[in-house]
């Protein structure tokens, strides 16, 4: 409870006690009676009266304060002191509940997303000191104990441990790190103490960036939110004028046209009931709250959504375009198959690895990595690199040739034709062909599932855009069942294809582009919703993206769409529910059927229900 809420609660209680107390005081003096009622009236309503005066002074349009003041002053003028005080009291109780419920839910959601580290253990001259993370400079050594959150990005200099990255990636499996590994802030240290040399300032670290992003996300307002703000802007004055008309017209009509009684009081009370119902807060608060909860829930699942508008657009996803390398594939070269002739596969790989032992080429590195065993330098007699072709080496007593077809042709060695896609490295010893190794970029384990998930969630068409050669691209697309492939593209070709796709689709449909590289940034910015791979992706891509997948898992694309759909369903539920209840009770109150308690339910009750419904958007685990 904030201090303001506490103060208001005390005001409400005191005036309630005074009001009840007045029943036991018998007095015939009209002045004393007036004073007795005016004390609780001013205690509970002075701020409303003050605001009403201000809005007259500033020539603001009718608002609920103004009308509450007019109505209660009117009741008092009619001699109905008790009703005047009661209405003011009811209104304030309603406002109080509203502020309390909203404050609570806001705090709850914020707490769930709070992964901000409070301190860092800075190591200086062998002593450990707890400092504000802002004070740690790049290159300092910090100590992270078990159970603590890594406050700043850096490199492990000492120790070996498992990290829980769930807060950032949504991945529940712990990640093992050791000396020399890069670690990001926000992860929790699970098993043993580590020392980290920081590589960034706190403000530039992952955890700060993620928090900034989530906090500012709800500032990018969605169309639904704009609709509600506009709705409220017209709705409130309209309802206020209706209430005023309800208070004045029927009694005048009844008195002068129907020659009936002049029951001003009854109509004023109806108008008041009308006013209490009218507050648009249930709508105005529950919609942004739903988006806030949806974005919060998504971030816990490792999907950062940079704005409510993108969440809304995601729910209408019909087309998804992918980049290949790094998006549906790992972006890491790996030995996929070995075709041997004359050598065993192990021998082939062993000699290839020895020949490539000193190579810095990603393909060479991948062969050494695949071999996995220690290289015995004694066995390497000589290695000579032939640029653009391969390597000539003397290993043990064997003359090894390893490289592409051109290298083999230079030495008049016939190679075996192969139809698999990917890069092929041939190997020959002492002039005779021994086989070849395929190096491919491995498809992510979840990629196939990711595409079928998209299909199951109403995506009409999936498209792959890649700079890679045709054969590789088509084989990947076929494996993943992607509908259309464009290969051998230059970055500007990607832009023009996405432009074409954007023109073809219906305006209400969303085109999503998923990519990771620097050259994807223009396309990410161009698409209705641009998604970037967070940990593999380039900074430019992440900057341009509307949605970031923290763990690079393509399956999260469908998850993000599902989260957005759930969130939008709740938004519509709340809009319809709140407006329907309001309209029905407004009619009932105009007819005199709905009493004040129902009015208060329509105001506070609807809001509380809408807020509770909004919080459902946080739950994204089972999607």
């Amino acid at each position: 409870m904030s201090s303001k809420q506490k103060k208001n609660l005390i005001r409400i209680i005191i005036s309630l006690i005074l009001l009840v107390g007045n029943h036991f005081i018998r007095t015939d003096d009209p002045l004393i009676r007036f004073v007795l009622y005016m004390i609780p009236y001013f205690i509970v309503g002075y701020d409303i009266l003050y605001k009403a005066l201000l809005s007259i002074k500033n020539r603001e349009s009718f608002d609920e304060n103004f009308l509450m003041a007019v109505a209660t002053v009117g009741a008092v003028a009619l001699g109905e002191y008790q009703e005047g005080v009661e209405v003011m009291l009811f209104y304030q109780i309603g406002e109080w509940f509203q502020s309390y419920a909203v404050g609570r839910s806001r705090k709850n959601i914020a707490a769930l997303m709070d992964i901000r580290p409070d301190y860092a253990n800075l190591e200086k001259n062998g002593e450990i000191e707890q400092v504000d993370p802002d004070e740690v400079e790049v290159g300092d050594i910090i100590v992270v104990k078990v159970g603590e959150r890594i406050p700043i990005d850096g490199i492990v200099t000492d120790g070996e441990t498992s990290l829980n990255t769930a807060a950032l990636t949504g991945e529940s499996r712990p990640r093992d790190v050791r000396e020399g590994d890069e670690v990001i802030s926000g992860c929790i240290n699970l098993t043993s103490l580590i020392r980290i040399r920081t590589t960034k300032e706190f403000g530039e670290s992952t955890v700060s960036k993620v928090l900034d992003l989530i906090e500012n996300a709800t500032s990018n307002k969605s169309k639904s939110e704009d609709f509600i703000s506009k709705f409220a802007r017209y709705y409130t004055p309209i309802v206020c004028y209706c209430a005023l008309a309800l208070a004045i017209i029927p009694p005048l009509v009844s008195r002068y046209l129907l020659h009936g009684d002049f029951n001003f009081y009854r109509w004023i009370f109806r108008a008041l009931t009308f006013l209490v119902i009218s507050c648009p807060c249930a709508l105005v608060i529950s919609i942004p709250l739903t988006f806030f909860a949806g974005i919060g829930g998504a971030s816990r699942a490792g999907v950062l959504i940079k704005g409510s508008n993108y969440l809304e657009a995601l729910s209408k996803t019909k087309y998804v375009a992918f980049d290949k390398t790094g998006t549906v594939t790992l972006g890491i070269f790996e030995v996929t198959t070995i075709h041997n002739s004359g050598f065993s596969k192990e021998e082939l790989l062993e000699y290839a690895a020895y020949a490539e032992a000193y190579s810095n080429h990603p393909i060479g590195r991948s062969i050494v990595r695949e071999y996995g065993k220690e290289i015995d330098n004694e066995r390497i007699r000589s290695i000579r690199e032939i640029a653009g072709k391969g390597i000539e080496a003397l290993i043990d007593d064997k003359k090894i040739l390893i490289g592409n077809e051109k290298l083999m042709a230079d030495h008049n060695i016939t190679v075996e034709e192969c139809h698999d896609e990917g890069t092929i490295v041939h190997l020959a010893t002492d002039g005779s062909y021994k086989g070849h190794i395929h190096i491919g970029d491995k498809i992510k384990d979840t990629a196939e599932q990711a595409i079928s998930d998209l299909k199951n969630n109403g995506v009409k068409k999936t498209v792959m855009l890649t700079g890679d050669e045709k054969k590789t691209a088509e084989s990947v697309a076929a494996k993943l069942k992607i509908d259309e492939v464009f290969s051998q593209l230059l970055p500007q070709d990607k832009v023009s294809i996405v432009e074409k796709l954007l023109k073809q689709k219906d305006e209400k449909e969303t085109l999503v582009f998923v990519g990771d590289g620097i050259n994807d940034a223009p396309v990410i910015a161009l698409a209705d919703v641009g998604i970037a791979m967070g940990s593999l992706g380039s900074d430019a891509a992440i900057e341009a993206a509307d949605v970031v997948l923290m763990d690079d898992d393509p399956i999260k694309i469908a998850k993000a769409i599902k989260i957005s759909r759930k969130c939008m369903a709740i938004v519509y539920e709340n809009i319809i529910f709140a407006i329907a209840v309001k309209i029905i009770t407004l009619i009932l109150s105009a007819l005199g059927i709905a009493q004040m308690w129902l009015a208060i339910f329509a105001d506070v009750g609807v809001m509380v229900i809408a807020v509770i419904n909004a919080i459902r958007a946080l739950g994204v685990k089972d999607l």
């Binding site: 201000l54 509203q98 909203v102 959601i109 500012n216 802007r233 648009p280 940034a521």
Partner: protein, 80 residues
């Protein structure tokens, strides 16, 4: 390449306000203030993002924004 932030002046202020509709009113009032190009009030995080016109004096403009907000919602506060 896509960093637009550098060409505009944008600042974020902490605010305090009671109800969501009042936050909307503040947003309207801030937008109408001279020197403000755009303003967004985020009720969930109680923050106001203000984008200033080129060459505007942020401090002076914000004083004006606060007084305009006070007119529509006397209970509000902007922590300058």
């Amino acid at each position: 390449m896509f960093n637009m932030e550098d060409t505009y002046m944008k600042k974020t202020y902490k605010i305090d306000v009671d109800c969501a509709n009042c936050a909307n009113k503040m947003e309207e009032a801030a937008k109408k203030t001279a020197g403000v190009k755009n303003a967004v009030v985020n009720f969930m995080t109680l923050k106001m993002n203000v984008e200033f016109e080129e060459g505007a004096d942020c401090k002076e403009v914000m004083k004006e924004v606060l007084s305009n907000c006070k007119k529509v919602e006397s209970d509000c506060e902007i922590f300058l």
